[in-house]
Amino acid sequence: MPFKIIASQCTGCSACEPECPNVAIAEKGGTFVIDPKKCTECIGHFDEPQCVAVCPVDNTCVIDTSLARYQEPA
């Protein structure tokens, strides 16, 4: 399942953007959003999801349980 950023928590600091191995994070109106189609939970890249590890505000980058698990494009 991809990660999402809780907009009300996001300080817009931009720490997550350059850390994402999938270039899935972009600014939108002062805060950042994750493109769920691009997010791989950093599996295969790093031991832990980079947006979660670098975000200064706890519980801001969270799993989006409403979406399905990531699958390789067919």
Partner: protein, 514 residues
């Protein structure tokens, strides 16, 4: 919150007596420097270092009266979490590190720098100090430096970092000829570090606890050594956190000095609950004025200490203590067509240097006059000033007081007390007055250009003598004249010398900031 309040000193906090004893054993300035302390002068710095810092307001106490600096907020990301920082809070009236009202792109920043430096010819320094960590934003930081180098080549570049990424960027820092780097080092013991830093982000991993602090201190000290080896001037900032790192900062001081730092700036923790930091919320208090001064004095024999730091915002503009950022809105600047004239800036600065030289010569002549008067009495006084080394501010208009220690050796600047944040926007005069008096209640006198009847009476009641007879006179001369008269009064038995109490460095806001 059961934690200790502002007034209750934690039992493990620094003991003033202990520090004072240690200083006495060392007999003050062990190095035998003339005019020890933060008053950067030609006498107590190697010529090469003086040349580098003489126009830098943050590095030279003397220069900060003449020269201005500018911070550009291009670096919002950070790679460590500090318990004294909260990135969500921003108040336009608040001056403290990490606070900004807007972020700039490197292009916007460079344009703003050119506009400001053209308007304020005494601006000599462009610094990047966050609001996050400049080296956690290396692309934005170095792009800004590159653009500013091209557009305004006479400006000194300056960088403030937590040091975690520092060893990786030494080559780039020297490539852009960055003059000065400040590293915030709060500990060299990871056990203490774990109480200050909940986590760091390093090599794609989040580290916590002692392991995180160990990586951080190793990287900080390594970075400091590497910069010192390349001849880049390094200042170390430390936040004094009572009960956590207060005693330990003596060790930090030795460690950073031995690795080539030339100036140490020990700053008081800012921890109001309304700032929403971990320390603010768990009741961790900041140091009192006496505790801070005792620690600064305790470190002073080891190396130069900085005492004029205003803990400014990451987007501050102008002279220290006089923020002019409101005059330069990004919108206006982007529309401006500015011509950067290095020659006219040079001309203006040459004039400043002339005035400075004349002032220094006059001070030297004055120093020879005040030979040892035989007294070992030392006391603090507060001064209301708008600058130029004069007592020229009204009591009611003062946004801060400068604090001097008077002794047979002369008047020595030891710090300042901010009060502006607490007296704005129609707070009751009564509460405001009490706050101001609380900020200088370790002083025997306050020197002002003018004062009303009500505050005069309240000050006298609180034991602080209001002195307005030296209005518009030079601070050094006036305070020493008053001190000599004070000693005469004590010697003749007219008054009894009594020790003063303690003071709050940053009194808590009367209400939470709007």
């Amino acid at each position: 919150m059961d934690a200790p309040t502002q007034q209750e000193a934690s039992s493990s906090a620094i003991e003033i007596g202990e520090i004072t004893k240690m200083i006495a054993e060392k007999k003050g300035c062990g190095s035998g420097r003339a005019g020890c302390g933060s008053q950067a002068s030609r006498n107590d710095l190697p010529a090469e270092t003086w040349e580098k810092v003489k126009n830098h307001p943050c590095y030279s106490e003397e220069a900060h009266h003449h020269y201005a600096r500018m911070h550009v907020a291009v670096a919002p990301a950070c790679n460590i979490k500090c318990n004294y920082c909260n990135r969500k809070y921003d108040c336009a009236n608040e001056s403290r590190p990490g606070v900004v009202s807007e972020r700039l792109t490197p292009e916007q920043a460079a344009k703003k720098v050119v506009a400001v430096a053209s308007t304020i010819p005494q601006m000599t320094v462009l610094g990047i100090a966050g609001p996050g960590d400049p080296l956690a934003n290396p692309e934005k930081t170095f792009k800004t430096f590159e653009l500013v180098r091209g557009a305004a080549p006479d400006l000194k570049l300056c960088l403030s970092t937590n040091g975690l990424a520092l060893p990786d960027h030494i080559d780039t820092i020297t490539k852009f000829n960055v003059d000065h780097v400040t590293i915030t080092i709060n500990m060299i013991d990871p056990v203490i570090g774990a109480k200050i830093y909940p986590w760091i982000f390093y090599k794609h991993k989040r580290y916590t606890g002692i392991q995180a602090a160990k990586i951080l201190t190793d990287r900080q000290l390594q970075g400091l050594e590497m910069l010192a080896a390349r001849g880049v001037l390094c200042k170390v900032n430390s936040v004094m956190i009572p009960g956590i790192n207060d005693r330990h900062l003596l060790e930090v001081n030795k460690a950073v000095k031995s690795r080539g730092a030339f100036l140490h700036n020990i700053m008081p923790l800012i921890s109001s609950p309304e700032h929403g930091t971990v320390f603010g919320l768990n009741g961790q208090r900041g140091p009192t004025a006496r505790e801070l001064k005792a620690l600064q004095d305790g470190c002073e024999g080891e190396m130069r200490m900085m005492r004029h730091c205003r803990q400014c915002r990451a987007d501050a503009v102008g002279l220290l203590g006089e923020d002019r950022r409101a005059e330069f809105t990004t919108e206006e600047i982007m529309e401006m067509n500015v011509k950067y004239d290095v020659e006219s800036r040079k001309g203006y600065q040459a004039k400043i240097e002339e005035e400075r030289a004349a002032k220094t010569a006059a001070e030297r002549a004055d120093l020879t006059k005040r030979a040892d008067n035989g007294s070992d009495l030392k006391l603090l006084v507060a001064v209301a000033t708008k600058g130029a080394g004069l007592i020229n501010e009204h009591f009611g208009h003062a946004k801060e007081f400068q604090v001097y220690e008077l002794s047979s050796g002369g008047a020595k600047f030891v710090g300042h007390r901010r009060i502006d944040l607490y007296c704005q926007g129609g707070y009751a005069e009564e509460g405001c007055l009490a706050t101001i008096i609380g900020a200088i209640s370790d002083c025997h006198a306050v020197f002002i250009a003018k004062i009303g009847g009500r505050p005069r009476a309240e000050l006298i009641k609180a034991g602080v003598e209001p002195v307005d007879q030296y209005a518009h006179e030079p601070i050094d001369k006036a305070t020493i004249a008053w001190f000599e008269a004070y000693l005469d009064r004590v010697n003749s038995g007219t008054i009894q010398h009594e020790e003063r109490g303690d003071a709050a460095i940053r009194p808590r806001a009367l209400t939470s900031a709007a």
